[in-house]
Amino acid sequence: MPELSDADLRFVLEHLQPPFNTKEGYRDYFLPKIQYHRALCTTVIAKVKKVLEPLKRQFGHRFFYRIDDSNTSKSLESIIDKIRRGEQANTKNEITIKNFAETMTDLARFRIVCNFLADMEKISQALRKSEELNEHFTFDVKDTTKVRPKDRKSGERSIKLILGYKKSPGLFLEIQVMTQLAEAWDKKDHFLVYEIRRRAPESDEENFPDFLDAKMHAMSELLNVADNYFDDLRQTRENALGDKEAS
């Protein structure tokens, strides 16, 4: 299992009460608190599959979407790191070691990986309009496919649906909808840039003297161009097929 950075370990040792304030014991403080999120994640995946079943049938002739389960819960290391950075930033921090389970909205998440850009929209709409999901959840949407260059901090392009479980206020789950190309970029960026930047956000000059971060940003743009082109091709093809059927 991944280890905490020295700074994060010092942070938990200082901020947790016994018996959790040890290298061996901190997990026992955090893990039970995220059990809820994991259980919620599983049941929402089951529900989402049902909601998307009609779309899947409609587009059964081609790849439409898949659910990526490789990161369904935020790692302990990321959770602790996020809390520590928040607390040390000396701002009015909303996420603390005490309330993190109710305030972090991405403790549980999963990703829906689509084929085309248009599929992202179809899936996102289907989920947002689902009566059953709306009965149980509040929805908050963050769409990073439509961010202007001046506001863009990262190359990530996805539609994030943040679901709040009505029955248990403070219990959130994040569904990330993105294309295969955006996912491919994200998986590379996570290793090459994101993790390094997360640990030392102020040290881009030292960590990326070769401008790796800028190159990754450019790759995201490139793949987005590709995604748009693919979507045009899909549209052209479908229009042609539609005309043929009509005639």
């Binding site: 039970p32 059990q35 809820y36 994991r38 259980a39 919620l40 994640c41 599983t42 049941t43 929402v44 995946i45 089951a46 529900k47 599959k49 049902k50 898949r66 659910i67 389960d69 490789s70 369904t72 819960s73 549980a108 999963f110 059953e132 149980h136």
Partner: protein, 514 residues
């Protein structure tokens, strides 16, 4: 109760990892279909976590959301995907949705100890072994501890309580420093048979024990001999035994004692009750011969330091012997009685057997099964589960009404008659106590069945009327207590201790007595 839906591939995986040896990890997969299972999933997840923390501190626990179990090999390469068992959430939740920790503990325990098979299977009639053998840990521990202190044991229990299976388990899983030989004495009718069976049905069948035989036999490489050769050797040895069984047995035991070296030698003599009953009844001087054998054996047990004995017989062996004036020959044996499974153990067993056959059973259904059959006599419990499993596999889904119907119409019905034949056969065996003894026993059982509790006094009168005398009444009462699970109550009455057998007797035997 219903067949588990194993087509559902979306669900929650609870993964258990050994802190010390990661390859010992295993996982349980719970299919999840919809949001309304959130509370159940949370209860089960929290329950397993608590169970791991309290009972299995060497294990860590992680939960994963699984969109497609079929692709788990690709997505979760760190998991031991060969050791995933599927359960449904319902299997670990009581009617009030409370987590059933006993079931969680027992499935985790079995996944850690890895018996073969992982879930016990139904073995009606035959000896159960390996992973099919269930529980009895405390009894086995007590006996081994006693043996190591130098004690010999008399293991008593009614028929089909699992004595022989437990003894075989001890033979297959000896404590360090022990060689174990198991011999079944059923069929023997004399002291000569007693000695011959130890040889023929015991030491000759267990290679590691054959080295302790007297030189003239140990030099023959008996483990490597053909069956024909072994039969020839036995025939020759039988002649020697017949000429002087005591001298032969002395030489045999002396050799075992001498050749055991650093090890101890445990000789398990099973079904001694049958041998004793047959000895008493097969010859005119049967009682004297039995007394002589037991007296000699009593003396021998005091002599040997390395050879220890477990003698196994029916619950009422001492009373039976006393009825023939044979007293005190078993007194220096430490007594160990095999009791029925307690309610918790029986429930765990039912849960495990059904889980192993992919059947989801609710807690109230387990309670209903136990209520139907009464005391969980292992043999009858297996019969009941067998018929329930075959129905569930045939129909996919059965409810309490179906279970009741299956119990009365199928298990106790004509199609399953063969399962009770061995019990009815005992009535023929009783003829050895006089031509009318079988009928007398049947009349006793009838009376007990009708009255629910019948006084000894009344039963004695019935016996006298049926057989023409009071002779053998006490012995017969002892025997039917073992064979028909009859309980001697404190108010000096007898009653059926097995509801299932009482139901069966009422349905099939009551009207047949002339």
């Amino acid at each position: 109760m219903r067949l588990r839906d194993e087509k559902q591939k979306t669900g929650h995986l609870l993964s258990f990892t050994s802190v010390k040896e990661r390859e010992k990890g295993f996982s349980f997969f719970f299919p999840v279909e919809d949001l309304d299972q959130f509370d159940s999933l949370l209860e089960v997840t929290n329950g397993f976590e608590k169970c791991i923390n309290e009972h299995f501190p060497d294990y860590e626990f992680t939960g994963y959301s699984i969109p497609d179990l079929g692709k788990i090999d690709v997505d979760f390469q760190e998991l031991n995907t060969d050791r995933i068992s599927t359960f449904e959430l319902e299997e670990f939740l009581a009617e009030d949705q409370e987590f059933i920790e006993d079931f969680a503990r027992i499935v985790i325990d079995r996944h850690i100890s890895k018996p073969r098979p992982l879930f016990p299977e139904i073995v009606t009639g035959a000896l159960v072994s390996g992973g099919d053998f269930y529980d009895r840990k405390d009894e086995i521990e007590t006996i081994w501890n006693g043996l190591e202190k130098g004690e010999n044991f008399l293991l008593r229990a009614p028929r089909r309580y699992g004595k022989s299976s437990m003894l075989k388990f001890m033979m297959d899983n000896p404590r360090e420093g022990w060689r174990v030989c198991y011999a079944d004495l059923e069929g023997g009718k004399s002291a000569e048979d007693f000695v011959e069976y130890i040889l023929k049905k015991g030491i000759f069948l267990q290679d590691e024990c054959a080295t302790c035989l007297p030189d003239h036999l140990s030099n023959l490489d008996i483990p490597g001999a053909t069956e024909m050769k072994k039969t020839e050797i036995i025939r020759e040895e039988r002649q020697k035994i017949i000429s002087d069984w005591q001298a032969y047995a002395n030489a045999l035991f002396n050799s075992i004692e001498k050749k055991s070296g650093e090890n101890n030698f445990l000789l398990i003599l099973d079904e001694i009750s049958f041998l004793v009953e047959d000895m008493i009844n097969s010859a005119e001087n049967g009682v004297e011969a039995t007394r002589d054998l037991l007296k000699w054996f009593d003396e021998k047990r005091k002599i040997y330091r390395k050879i220890k004995f477990i003698i196994s017989g029916s619950e009422h062996l001492p009373e039976f012997l006393r009825a023939y004036g044979i007293d005190g020959q078993l007194d220096n044996l430490k007594e160990e009685t095999l009791e029925l499974f307690d309610k918790t153990t029986a429930k765990e067993y039912i849960f495990l057997v059904l889980a192993g056959r992919k059947i989801v059973v609710r807690n109230e259904e387990i309670d209903f099964l136990m209520e139907l059959m009464g005391n969980p006599i292992p043999y009858f419990l297996q019969l009941l589960l067998d018929v329930i499993i075959s129905n569930c596999h045939k129909r996919q889904n059965i409810d309490l009404k179906d279970i009741k119907k299956i119990y009365y119409k199928e298990l106790l019905g004509p199609d399953r008659k063969r399962n009770f034949e061995s019990i009815v056969r005992q009535l023929d065996r009783y003829k050895r106590y006089g031509e009318l003894s079988g009928k007398g026993a049947e009349r006793l059982l009838d009376k007990i069945a009708v009255s629910k509790r019948a006084s000894i006094e009344m039963l004695k009168a019935i016996w006298q009327e049926a057989t023409g005398s009071e002779r053998n009444f006490e012995a017969m009462v002892g025997i039917i207590q073992d064979d028909f699970y009859i309980k001697h109550n404190t108010d000096d009455t007898l009653s059926f201790n097995s509801k299932l057998l009482l139901d069966w007797w009422n349905m099939h035997r009551l009207s047949t007595v002339q």
